[in-house]
């Protein structure tokens, strides 16, 4: 019997994977986690099994995600330091006690990446607009697709362009077209190069706590929307997923227009 279809499956899992380091896996993991606790907290449904918690599993031996999570006072984020041997156990436990699990992986091809991909609802592959990143993203997604074959289900995956310059540059456009030509699905929202994402690593303050109406916060908002819409479509819709979607919808309607008007969305051609 397929493990993926086992009835104890609880909440969605998102893995941040890339065979290349320094592409923004930890940054993306952190902004997604903090944005989701913000949304889940504002939804306010006490007594639910996940209680609005987001578990971050740091399977990177550098422990960068754990380091930045130590700086935050967000009580809804649980951080678990893990490795390839413990990952499956940690995942199972995390799924029981949270509404979303985010796995941050090491920037190499490794066993933990394989397991994380095999268990995930969505694998996000951050990549910068450079040739090296295109090559590594192709490798990473190749592994994810083979893993999907072996576990016998679809694993949604997206390349997330990261650290893209605020202003349009030809090399970024060229990289976008290279990802498309390589057959890699791009998330329509990119993680833009912003000082707020760098200062976050020192202060632990996610963009919405630095400047709630600022461009970095707006970027995270639209990025999270894009991510959740994929999970909503692809996950076996359980109680927790429904809650996430509901929290997301509540957030959509409550979002001030000023922020909605400036999402850092670029059309992918």
């Amino acid at each position: 019997m397929s493990v993926a279809a086992s009835p104890e499956r609880k909440c969605p899992i998102i893995a941040l994977a890339s065979t290349k380091g320094g592409v923004g896996k930890t940054t993306l993991a952190y902004v997604l986690a903090t944005e989701m606790t913000r949304r889940l907290a504002s939804k306010g449904t006490p007594g639910m099994p996940g209680a609005g918690r987001v578990t971050c599993i740091d399977a990177d031996p550098n422990r960068t995600l754990a380091q930045v999570l130590r700086l935050t006072d967000d009580r809804l984020i649980v951080c678990v330091e893990s490795d390839s041997d413990r990952l499956l156990t940690d995942l199972r436990e995390a799924q029981l006690e949270s509404d979303l699990v985010i796995i941050d992986l090491e920037g190499t091809a490794n066993q933990a990446m394989l397991y994380a991909a095999g268990k995930s609802d969505l694998v996000l592959v951050p990549a910068q607009p450079s040739r090296f990143d295109v090559v590594e993203a192709v490798k990473t997604i190749g592994v994810v697709r083979k893993a999907a074959d072996l576990v016998g289900r679809e694993i949604a995956h997206r390349v997330v362009l990261s650290r893209t310059p605020v202003l349009r540059q030809r090399v970024s456009d060229h990289s976008r077209s290279q990802f498309v030509r390589a057959g890699l699905p791009l998330l329509p929202v990119e993680l833009v190069q912003r000082a707020a994402f760098q200062s976050m690593t020192y202060t632990g303050k996610p963009p919405w706590r630095q400047d709630g109406g600022g461009p970095a916060a707006a970027n995270v908002t639209s990025l999270t929307d894009a991510v959740l819409s994929i999970i909503g479509l692809h996950s076996p819709t359980g109680l927790h997923s429904a809650r996430l979607v509901a929290a997301n919808e509540a957030h959509e309607t409550a979002r001030p227009r000023a922020i909605a008007a400036r999402p850092d969305v670029r059309p992918v051609t």
């Binding site: 499956l88 490794n110 397991y115 592994v143 202003l167």
Partner: protein, 232 residues
């Protein structure tokens, strides 16, 4: 969690690992014995099987607006000595092979740059206020450059904004010249909270002066403020 459940879980995990085992070779680093070291020389052909190609020099379709801006800019900015190739340029190679102790190959090459005659034919170097202004299309271009400059400034990208404003100013916009000056102005930079950008009051004053000549009253007051201040 009951013991029974955790046993099932471990069995599940084992099954899951076994399922993914065929991919082990993809994710495990090659053993050290198999690892080889390659030394490349710059002349070596590129490694085969790399999906991404380099950016072709001409392959990327240009942003048409950028192309227009570039063309407009090219009319205004002329590098001295960048005349048509081949005019008055001569290369002489002389080799001499006799010396008392050694054989020396001497290559003399000299090129005669375009003289005063060629320079006189070329348009004058860029000094924004005195530029001959392109007609109707540059109005749109100025507006576009200003908008993009304002957007860059709103994003906190002052250097990009400066470039955009300077281009618009080179096309004769007084407002752009004032904005370009502000990107150098110590007061403006302090107010905008910019860090890592060195103010340059001389450049600021120069741009404000140009803007004042082009007829921007704001520039006049900004210029008066800078000039009224005692020099440090």
């Amino acid at each position: 969690m009951s013991a029974k459940l955790s046993i099932t879980a471990e069995q599940d995990d084992a099954a899951f690992r076994a399922r993914l085992a065929p991919l082990a070779s993809e994710v495990l680093p090659p053993s050290s014995a198999a690892a080889t070291r390659t030394v490349f020389r710059p002349s070596a052909p590129p490694a085969p099987g790399v999906p991404a190609q380099g950016i072709p020099a001409q392959g990327i379709p240009d942003d048409s607006r950028l192309a227009v801006a570039r063309a407009a800019y090219a009319q205004t900015a002329v590098w001295p000595g960048f005349g048509p190739p081949g005019i008055g340029r001569r290369v002489l190679a002389v080799s001499a092979a006799v010396a008392s102790a050694a054989v020396l190959g001497l290559v003399w090459s000299f090129s005669r740059r375009p003289g005063s005659n060629a320079l006189a034919n070329a348009p004058a170097p860029a000094t924004p206020p005195s530029l001959p202004l392109a007609a109707a299309p540059s109005e749109n271009m100025i507006g576009l450059l200003l908008r993009r400059g304002d957007a860059a400034l709103a994003d906190g990208d002052i250097i990009a904004a400066r470039l955009l404003y300077e281009r618009a100013a080179a096309m004769g916009s007084a407002k752009a010249a004032t904005s370009a000056g502000k990107t150098y102005d110590v007061d403006f930079l302090a107010r905008s909270g910019a860090r890592g950008i060195r103010p340059d009051q001389t450049a600021a004053a120069a741009w404000f002066r140009k803007a004042a000549v082009l007829g921007d009253p704001e520039a006049r007051s900004l210029l008066a403020r800078i000039e009224g201040r005692p020099r440090p």
